[in-house]
Every structure is written in C-alpha cells, then in structure tokens.
C-alpha cells in the first residue's frame, strides 16, 4: 500500500513488494514494507544497522520466507522458496561476502551450479562439462560489461577486490537477469576499485536491469542511484527520487528525525531509542 506516485507508475515489469512482514522470535525485522523497483533504475536501500535491510534482501532472494505480504515480479505474485526460485524469476543477489569460490576460475564462478554440459549424449547425463564453451561465453559477458580481468581462466583468489566484486556482479547479470540485488558492493574496496564497481552498477541499469543496492555511503546514493528507500526499525520511512533529497535529509530519515509513512501505526515507536524494533 505505498502511495508514492513515482514508484508505482509501471506495475507490469520489475519487482513490486506489498505489505511485507517478517519477525524473528517476536521481533519485527520487517513490518509492512512496500515499494517497487523499476527496470533501468538504480534504487538505494539505506538504513541503520538492524533496520532490516539484510532481511529484506534475503526475502527478495528466496533465502528467507516472509511471514506476510507479497512479492510481485512482472505483475505476477512470486513464490520463492530458494535462491533457485528467485533466479528462475530473473532475480539475482550479490551477497556481501562476495560469494565467490576463491580457488576456482572466473569462468567456473560465473557458471557455478548452472554449468554448460557437453552435448555428447551419455557424458551429458554424467554431468560432463564443456569448459571451453563456458570460458568463451565468460569472455563475452566480461567484454559486454566492460569488466577487465587477465583471463576467464584466472583464479578468483588472484584478482583484486574490485575485480572480484565485478565478477560477482557479472555473474548476477550474465544470465540476462532483470532484477539484481547488491548487498554493500563497495564495502571493502579502495577508491579506484569502488569507482569501477559503481560504473558497472550504472551500466547495468542502463541495460534495463532493475538494481537494488544496499549501501551506507550517502555519496554513492547521490552519485549513482535514481531512487532511495530508507528503512528504520523494520519499517519503510522514505521512498523517494534521489533528486528530491540531499545527504542531510537522508541522514534525518535514517536516524528517525523524519518519516514519510509512520504517522498512524508507527507513532509510538519513534520516541524510543533504537533497541531492535520490538513491538508487542
């Protein structure tokens, strides 16, 4: 039941979330969260630690089942019980810990658990892989996205942090996925590496992908994002175009000095300090 006009203009494509609830042991990690992600747009998801950002991304990526509410993909309610279900719907998540297999090659990582098998009949049933096809396709994907690594055969552990992050993101979109969730993609990176990743994020959106980025960096929000969602104590307190805001306003939303939605149901909460969003 979001009411912001600019986030619900097109409900047929992209991802829409309605009335999402999730609680752990009686504590609301998410309460009545609703918003939409548009193709071609980068949406920032910001909020203090414990605001529910990770839980929200886990719900959207099929790792966690919401208690209530709907996730609607391309106009149809989606039932996601695993990351595989999410991937089948075109949703791909890049987790904070990079989620790459360090000892394996770039190509092996890109194709992890969706390997190209050989076309030779009996061997195919045995799970025999076509490493060459995977390497060729990997080079293509990397070239398309402008990701520079020594080779598709390079081992991930030998790459820089920025390169690894780009590979992780490349894996997410190498499957013509249309919705990509990024959990703090620049958390552990230096300046140059960060620029590399932000550039890639922008490029994804320009290719028509709907991107959601969790970040703590307000500068990045202003730089590359079109839309911003602010979570506080499990509730959405802002869903705005970045052009309407500045960093100061964002920080006010995050710390609870401002809220767009919390007038009726959330009033009692806001006077209390952030102790985890416990509600009876």
């Amino acid at each position: 039941m979001t009411t912001t006009a600019d986030s619900t203009t097109d409900s047929a494509t992209g991802l829409r979330v309605e009335g999402l609830y999730k609680s752990y042991a009686g504590v609301h990690a998410l309460a009545d969260v609703g918003f939409a992600l548009q193709p071609g747009q980068v949406t920032a998801l910001v909020g203090d630690n414990g605001a529910g950002k990770s839980t929200l991304v886990k719900c959207l990526s099929g790792l966690v089942q919401p208690d209530e509410g709907q996730i609607i993909v391309d106009g149809r309610p989606a039932a996601m019980h695993s990351p595989r279900d999410a991937a089948a719907l075109g949703i791909e998540t890049v987790h904070q810990d990079l989620a790459l297999v360090q000892h394996s090659t770039v190509a092996q990582n890109l194709y992890l658990n969706r390997e190209i098998r050989t076309k030779i009949p009996v061997l195919r049933q045995l799970g025999w892989l076509d490493h060459r096809a995977m390497q060729r396709r990997t080079e293509e994907i990397l070239r398309e996205l402008g990701i520079r690594v020594p080779s598709a055969k390079a081992r991930v552990r030998d790459l820089s942090g920025g390169q690894r992050q780009c590979i992780a993101i490349g894996r997410a979109v190498g499957w013509s996925q249309r919705i990509v969730l990024l959990d703090e993609p620049t958390a552990a990176l230096g300046v140059a590496q960060t620029a590399l990743v932000l550039e890639l994020v922008r490029k994804l959106a320009d290719r028509g992908v709907a991107v959601l980025v969790i970040t703590h960096n307000m500068e990045h929000v202003m730089q590359v994002c079109d839309q911003v969602l602010v979570l506080r104590l499990g509730r959405l307190v802002a869903d705005r175009a970045v052009s309407e805001l500045d960093s100061t306003a964002l920080v006010e939303y995050i710390t609870g000095l401002r809220s767009d939605f919390a007038t009726t149901t959330n009033g009692g909460d806001r006077a209390e300090p952030a102790v985890g969003g416990e509600r009876a």
Binding site: A87, H95, L100, V101, S104, N113, L129
Partner: protein, 332 residues
C-alpha cells in the same frame, strides 16, 4: 653499523635452514613438489639400490600391490578434503568391509560377496555423512566416533578370528590376477585415478564439491545442496575404503579384523603430500596418486637398503614432514 645489520637480519631472517625451506616454498613448482620428489627419490634408489633388485619388474609389482588399497582411498579422500571434510574412519571401514565381504564371498560366491563388501563401505560412508549433516557436528568428530563403532562391529562380526577366503575368482580379480598382462593392483589404482580425476575436474559434481569446500555459504547461495555434497563425498570415501578392504582380502586370501589399522594416516599423508589442502576448495587426484606411489617407493627402497621396520617408519615420518613443509605452504 655492521653489528646493527647483523642484528636486523637475525630479527627477520630465520637462519639458513629456514631460508632454504622458504625459498623452496616460494618456488613456482611448489604445487608440483610431489612429482619432483618422486623423480628424485626414484632416481636415488635406482642408483643406490641397482644391485639389490630395486629396478626389477617383480619389485615394481610388489610396490603396486602394496600401495593399491592406499591409492584407491587416497583418490577418494581428495574429494573429502576438497569439500572441507575429513574421514578418519576409513581404516576401520577397510576392516569392516573385508570381514563382512569375506564371509559373504564364502557364503554366496565372489560377485555377491564383493558387492556386499563394497556396499558395507558405502553404507558406512552414508552413515558418516548423514550424521555429520543431521547432527551438525564436524566430520572430524563424527568419524572419530564411528571409527570405534566400526571397529567394534568388525570385532563382533569376525569373532576376532581370521576368515580365510579360498575363492579363486575373487583372489584373481582383487588380488593376484592380471588382465592383458597388467596386474589387477595396477588396474584398480589406475581406474581410481582416472575416474576420480575426471570426476573432480570435468563434471558438475566435481565443481559442487570444490565450491562446497571453498565457501559453503556461497555454494548454498547459488543453490547447491551442500548437505547432499557432504554426504556424497563421505559415501565415496566409504565406498573406496570398502574396495580397499576387498583388495586386501584378495591379496592375502582372507580377512583379519586388524586390516587397515594404519591406513587412515597413510592415506592422508599421500593426499596432502600430493598438494591437496585440508582447508577445502582445492584438490589434486594426480598428486594424491603420485603421493601414494611415492610413499610405497620410499618404504620399498628403505627395506631394500636394509633398514629395520622401526627405522623405515622413522625415516618415512621425516620425509612426510619435509614433504608437507614444501607442498602445504600456508598464506601468511
């Protein structure tokens, strides 16, 4: 000035021996240490033991027969370690499979008996894997416990008696036979090498094993059923131990409840010398194969050189320490 330099050097440099080892570890071929080691050891024995029968077909056959059970288990253990698990129970499974398999051969003939012995190994491995996943206890601890469990079961099934097996067909296939003039010990070893190597490098299962061992959380995040992978590698390990038990039974034409007592450590030594790490995510079947044969060659050479059993064990221990110092370098 020079005193200060000396002090500085003393503070940072680890002395000549440490430096030499460090240089060896930095060498680009450190992953290939086992192959270089094999060539060096083999050449050394070939020269020094030339007149004592080292370089004879009969001696090589002996080495192959002695190492075949370890080689088979080493190839499977690469999968276990690659998945960041460990199976301490393989020695006990060898004895259990041998004792049960031997009685089954005597009762039902070679084909059924061999199938039973192998199945016992697979089931033991499945039990290990299921316990690890279901109880959420590391495989190190579970297999520590099941080692005793299997050892006790073996003693009960064998009544602490030898079980002679006189079945000629069984002895031919698992022990002393030959096909196309190739001894079966060699065939079993090479079969294990080829199947394990291709499976690890060229199949989707191999990729899943490596991913699970490297980073279980990310493996799960891309939809790999890591529980199934972990059960599978331990079942493979159990099956290989079962096969090793059958090979022993074929070779000595009987089973004893003490079979395989030292095999777990020997197998792990062969695998880690071959470059497979205990941390998961990487494994070398070819390295494990060569590691197993290398250990066999060393034992054989020391025996021919006239060392007593105790001296052989001592020297073997020294060589293992040296080998892992080179092949198992840790990052900072």
């Amino acid at each position: 000035m020079s005193t200060q330099q000396v002090l500085e050097r003393a503070g940072t440099a680890p002395g000549p021996l440490g430096e030499a080892v460090a240089r060896l570890r930095r060498a680009p071929w450190s992953g290939a240490a086992v192959y270089v080691g094999f060539v060096l050891v083999f050449a050394y024995f070939a020269i020094t033991l030339a007149d004592r029968g080292f370089l004879t077909g009969h001696n090589f056959l002996t080495i192959l027969q002695q190492t075949a059970p370890i080689t088979v288990m080493a190839c499977a253990t690469v999968f276990v370690l690659s998945a960041a698990e460990i199976d301490l129970s393989i020695g006990a499974v060898v004895a259990l499979s041998a004792v049960v398999g031997a009685q089954a051969v005597n009762a039902f003939g070679a084909p059924v008996g061999a199938a039973v012995g192998f199945a016992v190994g697979v089931l033991a491995g499945l039990l290990n894997g299921t316990l690890v996943v279901a109880l959420r206890v590391p495989s190190f601890l579970i297999t520590l416990g099941t080692t005793e469990l299997f050892a006790g079961a073996t003693e009960i099934f064998s009544h602490l008696q030898d079980i002679p097996v006189s079945n000629v067909g069984f002895a031919t296939i698992f022990g002393s036979g030959a096909f196309a003039s190739l001894p079966v010990a060699l065939l079993w070893s090479v079969a294990a090498l080829v199947v394990a190597h291709l499976t690890l490098r060229w199949t989707a299962f191999g990729q899943r094993v490596l991913a699970t061992g490297d980073n279980r959380i990310s493996a799960r995040a891309v939809g790999i059923n890591t529980s199934r992978v972990r059960i599978a590698v331990l079942a493979v390990s159990g099956g290989a131990a079962g096969l090793a038990g059958l090979i022993y039974t074929g070779q000595i034409q009987g089973a004893i409840y003490t079979l395989g007592v030292n095999d777990m450590l020997a197998t792990l030594a062969a695998v880690v010398i071959g470059g497979t790490t205990l941390r998961g995510g990487y494994g070398s079947v070819v390295g494990a194969f060569v590691g197993s044969i290398l250990m066999g060659v060393i034992r054989n050479g020391l025996l021919l050189a006239g060392l007593t059993a105790s001296q052989q064990t001592l020297v073997t221990g020294l060589i293992i320490v040296l080998a892992v110092a080179i092949s198992q370098r840790e990052k900072a």
